[in-house]
Amino acid sequence: MFEIFGIPSTALFGQLLIGLINGSFYALLSLGLAVIFGMLNIINFSHGAQYMMGAFAAYIILQATGLGYWPALIIAPIIVGITGIIIERTMLQWLYKLDHLYGLLLTFGIALIIEGVARNYFGSAGLPYTLPDSLRGGQNLGFMFLPNYRAWVIAVSLVVCLGTWFVIERTKLGSYLRAATENPTLVRAMGVNVPRMITLTYGFGVALAAFAGVMAAPIYNVSPQMGSELIIVVFAVVVIGGMGSILGAIVTGFGLGVIEGLTKVFFPEASNTVIFVIMAIVLLVRPAGLFGRRA
């Protein structure tokens, strides 16, 4: 036990860990937003609601079938991803020719519907979701205690984020995606089914949000408003990082999570607002965002 700037090291490292956990969720969600925005030119306001759907899907799967965390980690994103595909096919696809703002308004409406329905059936209070047995307990690292589940969340989000980056930036499929973002008409002329690619991209982005939701379920309570509170912070993260770069979204997400954690130690009153303050400063200094390209 030692002290840094008058703060006990356990408290400091504890908050750093929480910051990294929050950062994992910021990174996963802003990554999904960036991928969707790249292909669809739509800001997916329902991203937070779909994250919440993932958590509820895991909860319902456990209640209805008894299937625990591990199956839910696969099944819930698939189910929520399919609902995303349905949303894209029935609604979003009619908006691509219109102003971006309509996409935002439509997905905002969808978010209200999802949140309202969840509140009707489950109430506003949080529901607990138990940890899987295999991830209980933790490691004593000497300077702090590291719960296994938290370590797992950070590791998995890093792997998923970097995996997504690899697929988009380094594979053939990713090159199609990037090409279709730049010039859909030309890519279509080459024989690539661009509309299907757009649909699947939206499904993937939504599934990513649901995946984050399942991972969040054992840490935070499963509650209808868990997504809307998070998504506004994620918007600020996206403004800070800029949506032009996948790697930028990941780095910004983790970085801001850590900064928020540190703020909780040194200046707890500002921990809710620090990300917004950073956003304001970034807008003053680098209006295009840290990793953004000037439009």
Binding site: D99, L101, I110, I114, G116, I232, V239, L284
Partner: protein, 338 residues
């Protein structure tokens, strides 16, 4: 260079006539409304109608979607309620140290003025940050800034946190006319609403308003014609937030409470919905939209959380099926401008 004189704009009698008729109908409805409906409800509708009109000035005429307009509405409501009820201003300039300006409780019109000033100052700060980015980012920045100020409102002492500022006295207008009587109060709210409404109409149909519409249609071209579009956008933003402040402050006097529910992001969404339902970029749309949404909330209050779902469905339906909104559709059928 600042003045645009377009011969087509000088006299447009058919436009003037349809708007004049609609305005007369509005006046007639306002004159009889308190005798048929609960005056408190009509006053609430008028506050939200002014709020929605202010919001519409941005989205409808400059093409800027501010997703954080609750910030100006709610904070103006807090400031007005505080100034009318208590008056004394205490500002922390250092942890533990307060700058105290002793003031007596103000009369309602000065309270509303303080609310308007709050809207203007907050709008100037938030606007100068938000206009640094275009399109979708603008919406996200305004939303994030509003959320930040929501947390401040939750923590600040004078707002009363979750309780809000309750029991705000209505007081005497100009220190003379008591607003305790519901009909006197109603007349005052109608005057405030009409002043704001006509001011917005004037702005939209001024040379300045023409430049705003040019920015909405094609910002790059407006820049190439030599207009400093950022300045125009900022002025429009501050005008809008000032009027949103007037609306919020008036609501605090009407409802005699300023609460946290006026600062949350759901309120920002609600004003978007009102404007969308009524018709983006129409002069009367936001008024109709505010009336429709508040009536719906009032009638469906028994359904609890389903109201949120219904609002979501209306959002989706408006975006997919009738983007013109109620007034926009009527104007389209009648082939007039409203």
């Amino acid at each position: 260079m600042e003045r645009v004189v377009d011969p087509l704009m000088k006299k447009n009698t058919s436009r003037d006539r349809s708007i004049a008729i609609a305005f007369l109908i509005l006046l007639a409805v306002l004159a009889v409304a308190p005798f048929y409906a609960y005056p408190q409800f009509v006053m609430q509708v008028l506050c939200f109608a002014l709020f929605a009109c202010a919001f519409n000035l941005l989205i409808g005429y400059v093409g800027l979607l501010s997703f954080g307009h609750a910030l100006y509405f709610g904070w103006a409501s807090y400031v007005c309620a505080h100034m009318i009820k208590i008056g004394t201003i205490s500002i922390p300039y250092w942890p533990g140290a307060w700058l105290v300006i002793p003031l007596p409780p103000l009369s309602p019109e000065l309270g509303i003025l303080a609310g308007a000033l709050t809207g203007a100052v907050l709008g100037l700060v938030a606007g100068s940050l938000a206009i640094r980015r275009q399109g979708i980012y603008f919406a996200m920045i305004t939303l994030a800034l509003a959320q930040m100020m929501y947390f401040f409102a939750l923590q600040a002492k004078f707002t009363g946190g979750e309780d809000g500022i309750q029991g705000v006295p209505r007081g005497k207008l100009f220190g003379l006319i008591s607003l305790a009587d519901p009909y006197t109060m109603y007349a005052f709210v109608v005057v405030v609403f009409l002043a704001g409404f006509l001011f917005i109409y004037r702005v939209i149909h001024s040379p300045f308003g023409e430049v705003l519409k040019a920015i909405r249609e094609n910002e790059a071209r407006a820049i190439s014609l030599g207009y400093k579009t950022d300045r125009y956008k900022l002025v429009a933003f501050v005008l809008s937030t000032t009027l949103a402040g007037v609306a919020g402050a008036t609501k605090a006097v009407v409802m005699q409470i300023a609460s946290i529910s006026d600062v949350v992001w759901q309120m920002s969404g609600e004003v978007v919905l009102m404007t969308l339902v009524g018709g983006l970029g129409t002069i009367f749309g936001p008024v109709i939209g505010a009336f429709v949404i508040l009536t719906m909330q009032y009638k469906l209050a028994a359904f609890g959380e389903w109201v949120t779902v219904i609002q979501g469905v209306i959002f989706v339906a408006c975006v997919l099926l009738f983007r013109r909104g109620i007034v926009g559709e009527i104007a389209n059928i009648l082939r007039v401008k409203l």
